[in-house]
Amino acid sequence: MAIAPHRIIYLIFPSIIILAGLFVQNSYYLQVLTFIGINTLLALGLNLLMGYAGQISLGHAAFYGIGAYTTAVLTVHYGLSPWAALPCALAVSALVALIVGFPTLKLTGYYLGMGTLGFGMIVHIVFREWSDLTGGASGFIGIPPLDLGPISFSSGRNYFYLVWAIVMMCLVVSNRLINSRVGRALRSIHDSEIAAGAMGINTMSLKIRVFVLSAVFSALAGFLYAHFVMFISPGSFDFLVSIRIVTMVVIGGMASIWGALFGATLLTLLPEWLHAFSEFEMVVYGLILMVVMILLPQGLTRGVLDIYEKSKTRNR
């Protein structure tokens, strides 16, 4: 059976994951790799919205948090199984995205940025102030670990496989979506919403659909985060987290599926690598954001590719 060359990545990628799972023994490394997976989901979701549809969101941590808090509340307060809480978490996030998306996505440019930022702030305040339900500022403890029949995901390795299997699925879904008719329509919105509308694309409905999809991706990441760390607090879903997700997308390269993976990997590893980074974290984030946007507005992957292609044509 012949496999198209561009599909080979679908074989290579799972192999790398399986090998990584087999050979990485250190539980700390496994934990970092799991966080990379969770962050990749977040970046992937926002990339669909920002990179492809060209709609900025400075409040995506809200959906991440909604996913995490919904599953936490349902499993702890109501004793639901996590697997029953998962669809609820995704549905709540999708519903909120739908309700917020309708008025918000009518805005463009700066107003959209401010609108999503305001939404993110309000959700963060709700997490912090609704202490009967969310535990308030001190956080939410006692979220149960995941298990599936005899397989327990409380061990680092199993959770690593679970997260990356889901990441793989989401990568495939995004890739299929982007290369479909809908994906082309999305990119046409990015270039010019008016032109897209003139070509018969229902831009508003498409923008809302991709907003909801990206909220669902974020909620999925939130679900995985909550059951991995088993403790969540409002600080994990504040404005800076939203910015971090934006940074991942921007660094990795907007409008690039693999760029999301790259950006998430880089920004998860960077603070881990530089030990004294915690003090400098904000300065470095700010600088990276500014410099990349000034020099390579298309992001690192796209920007480097562009430079490479330019030098190739010049040599000819």
Partner: protein
């Protein structure tokens, strides 16, 4: 009744600060169509600058005020030159991320300089609080109200009466046409940046005696200032002033009549409502966003 009056008075104080920040947003938006997400950090830098110069080094107050505002203006100048002017692709999404990046950068930098501690300053003068129909008006509040009103009035005359002000306004209305009449539009944009950074710094120095100053105070103030600017109509001086006072009073009443937890939410709910239903602000009848 007494309580409500007290809430209104303290709301007006904080509202005056929102108004000054909002004026900074509006000025910049007029000249460049840009919303500077780092505006709040200029407020923070102003407050921290005064904490350092007046609180730590005991430089005389007036000199410390002038030095702080001048210093932050220089930062605004550098910011425009280094980060905004160099952008090759001035798409809003790119500029949003750059200004957000700048805001995080400034915040991180001041965390390195001043640490995570919060500082406080004494009021500018030691006069006893004024009694307004039973409500207490602190001496610092009088300073804040006076300075902000004088500032906005001064800016109004700057725009209406001076040649530079008129040139800036011309750039705001139509940049190309302004260039054709010989106005150096680029320099006007730079001036707008410097002035708006100075506005932020002024808001920072006047708020520093009535709040705890720390590296992360700017974000919330900047966002509230933006809410105020949107409320009054972005780009309008008097709109920003009214929006600021309105937001301050609403917030103060909200805290007094409900709980303090909802304080920050009020501004953002107002922001979303304005964005959804009346993007031109409550003052403007049409969607005109000019002076």
């Amino acid at each position: 009744m007494q309580e409500i009056l007290q809430y209104v008075v303290s709301g007006l104080t904080i509202g005056a600060i929102y108004a000054v920040i909002a004026v900074g947003f509006s000025m910049l938006f007029n000249s460049t169509e840009l919303i500077n997400f780092a505006q709040g950090e200029f407020v923070m830098l102003g407050a921290m600058g005064l904490v350092t110069l007046w609180g730590v080094f005991h430089i005389p107050l007036v000199l410390a005020l002038l030095l702080t505002v001048a210093g932050v203006s220089v930062i605004g100048f550098l910011f425009e030159r280094l980060a905004i002017r160099t952008v090759r692709n001035p798409h809003p999404i790119v500029l949003i991320i750059i200004t957000v990046g700048a805001s995080i950068f400034f915040r991180g930098l001041s965390m390195l300089i001043w640490g995570k501690d919060a500082y406080s300053l004494p009021p500018f003068t030691d006069t006893p609080p004024l009694d307004v129909f039973g409500a207490k008006l602190l001496s610092q509040s009088i300073w804040i109200l006076c300075i902000s009103l004088v500032l906005v009035a001064g800016l109004y005359f700057f725009y209406k009466k001076t040649l530079t002000g008129k040139a800036m306004q011309a750039c705001a209305i139509n940049k190309k046409a302004a260039c054709l009449t010989g106005i150096p539009a680029e320099r006007m944009v730079l001036l707008a940046f410097i002035l708006s950074a100075a506005m932020g710094a002024v808001a920072g120095v006047i708020i520093s005696p009535i709040t705890m100053c720390s590296y992360d105070m700017g974000t919330m103030l900047g966002l509230k200032g933006f809410c105020a600017a949107m409320l009054g109509g972005l780009g309008s001086l008097w709109g920003s002033l009214i929006g600021g006072f309105l937001l301050g009073v609403l917030e103060s009443l909200g805290v007094g009549l409900f709980t303090s937890g909802v304080k920050d939410a009020i501004a953002f709910i107002i922001l979303l409502l304005i964005l959804y239903f009346r993007p031109g602000g409550i003052i403007s009848a049409k969607s005109v966003r000019r002076f």
